[in-house]
Subunit: 186 residues, 6 copies
């Protein structure tokens, strides 16, 4: 125990079902200290014709995209300076905060701000964590930064963590913390 | 849809059941874009005598403590310099990393390191997020720091984020990022 | 087969559960020609704390009153000329049609119309049928009428049928057919 | 809540499943005042090999025909004076009662009786209601009659209601009430 | 997997539920080579008011007695020559066959037959196996016999096996095999 | 009642499912004195992708062979003196005990012992009973023996019972009792 049974409409892709099973398993582990082999999840798939709410049959909504994949694609686009692609992944009301900045709402603002801070930066990821949180998904990425200061000297191994909120398949919030301020030349 | 049924042994406190229901609801929302009122969770509680694995009846393990509560209690103890209480909340292999430090394994190390960094610091919390992640729980706290620099001048409104791993009801890892390095006098 | 499982919140009275079981059994019989002993209904009662929609636990709404009982109480009140009690059982937009009348909306209208038709009338019930029909309940009562014509001669054994609509525990429609027109003196 | 799960053998036509879902939904609405979107019905279809009573697997009985369709087909046949077709829809022990008649058991009797009552009659339907009731289905049709009196004068807009009992796919009882007696010339 | 859910009426004693869980677990093991910790059995107990077949609620029948206990009590009574008690445990149509006998239907017959065979005999049980088999339970007891031959010499360690059929809580059949014939003096 | 639901992974052959349903039905009958038509068993088959323990999906293990079939094949091979085939059906640690022998561990031992006992023997089966018993299956075969004594005279109608233990699809134990000792010439 526990045993979790989830009834879903037929038609979700194997990957979506795999993520649902993992999320339900984790939900149990969060509260119940059962050994892994005692936590069972069963998905029951129902044909649309066999399920009704208020007497009305329903169609399955397409599964939400994996928010971790979405965030990584966004970060890759940013690192490649492909702002158009990155912009297309942002939702209404998007805002981002970087160390020492106030909220910025456009990628252009970010680029302008970063120009004086470093010539370029690349990320090495140590971990990506995606979680449900109320109606949204939260994604944390962390690892280290490498790049060049404006004066051309190199840096590397500097810790960072990014926090993203994803709603309806779009990024609506990015918060960034890192140790650049500890070490950058001033 | 979806409808989630979770079978658990009788005996969990209302608070634990509430957390389990919330975690299962969030697990569904993570993958399936159903409206809230269409996501149903039912807990089925079973008397120990009515449940067997391998023919052997089982007793319910006590619910895991809320990891968010645990982390906040730890942070309160640290802020009050009650190191003994804080130490009692740490698990085997505990390590922590702060901006500009390598891994530290004892609270004494942390106190020694911080002495040169600020006279004191207090935290204002904006959010606490706790998630299941594999066998562990992950807790993120974020908000702003206020305090005094070693020279006695005050600071405030400086962003921070802490990440904790909680296993078996004990904290095993703390990672800290903040913007102190952006602003501290050097 | 079929086996019907109904999950309801704890707290319904035995009588309400009995009516629910009967209605579910009849629903199956309506479509599936299984022998009676093969139609099984199980009610699963869930404590309010063990059931959530959208992460929110719910309280059971009080069961709807038995519409057959409501209609019979109304008819008893009418036969006893207790118009105040009968009026209290009528919902907004109530209308009634009797043989040869158009729609009447008040009991006073009915009484005025009936005065010229018979001195009094009593009903003997052969059957009362109550059914769900969309959001409303429908109740049919049928049997025979006895009473006295305006000239004082007696009549009896005259067939009638009444149809009622009940919504939210109040009568919103009454339609009456009978054979008085076949036999009454003109 | 409530959530209804019905286990049936595989093989019912979509239309039969649709009627079963509707009947189960109505059964719940009859007793529990839940909003429509909170009433969920799930059909679980089981392969015959996966279901046994007393250790014996079972085949699904063909669904019962929609009794409303059956009654309407009978009434159409009667209106078209196609007595042979109508007769084939009647079950053992069939009886019918019309205004002012005793029980008649053959359609020929009905035709003979009606001859003196009107030259012909056609029905305009306002509603057809079909309900399960114990082992039988009950169908009510109501609306208005139009036609010609024996003297050739026309009538129309005269209310009627018919009640049918349907058992095993055949009509076993018909009861008719109408307002012809209120208005027919005598 | 597999997971077995058994719905039973409330009111069975813990011992009966324990036997039911064990029998269901064994039933799975008989066909599916799952490791023990993967075979889960859940009993769902339903209040009598929450369960209906054909619309009729049901009371739980008292559990059948453990047939192994019944048979052992019978054998103890026989060994103590308490024929009255043993007789009370026999059902209609009881028959028994011992090595070299035809069917005997009364305990008196058995006693008469045994008189020439040994002065007395006692049983040491190695195992008692009770199984369901169609509507009846089958019990096998096996072990060794010790006692004295008619001439007073002792014997011991002689293998036996008894097979019993138990129906409705009474023994209806006993078959005995043993190695006495291999060794008894002739 | 009772109703048994067994959740298994998809892929078991009809014959294996039939045996599982029969074993579950018998398990119920063993404890609950319900009439046969009130004992319902439903198998729910789950696609491997829809079932996880500890977050890991599982493949169905092939069903265990019918132990009764296995034992009968072994006995046929022995009667045909096809020792190689019979040997292949024996598991590690196999032992057998016949009337008057100690434990024998090879078929060659058995053949050597039997040589002095009878020229040949054939079995007529009255019944074969197979049961789950803990992790193993137990099979009992009983009936009568016919054959020839070493001196060439014939015998027949002599009762026997064999008990087998089957683990992991191989025979690990055989115990034999019969009445040969009662009648054989000495």
């Amino acid at each position: 125990m526990p045993i979790v049974e989830a009834h879903v409409l037929e038609g979700y892709a194997p990957e979506a079902k795999r993520r649902l099973v993992a999320a339900l398993t984790d939900a149990v582990r969060f509260v119940v200290p059962a050994p892994d082999e005692a936590i069972t999840v069963m998905l029951h798939e129902h044909a649309a014709a066999n399920y009704a709410r208020g007497g009305v049959t329903r169609s399955p909504a397409p599964a939400l995209p994996d928010p971790a994949e979405l965030v990584l694609a966004y970060l890759r686009a940013m690192e490649a300076r492909d702002l158009a692609t990155a912009q297309g992944m942002l939702g209404d009301g998007f805002a981002m905060v970087f160390p020492g900045t106030g909220p910025m709402t456009t990628l252009a603002e970010l680029v302008a701000w970063a120009k004086d801070r470093y010539r370029f930066v690349t990320k090495t990821y140590e971990a990506v964590e995606a979680f449900p949180a109320g109606g949204a998904a939260v994604v944390y990425t962390r690892g280290t930064l490498a790049g060049e200061w404006p004066d051309g000297t190199a840096f590397s191994g500097i810790r960072f963590i990014d926090r993203f909120e994803v709603t309806g398949g779009l990024i609506t919030r990015q918060d960034v913390w890192n140790d650049l301020g500890e070490v950058r030349p001033r």
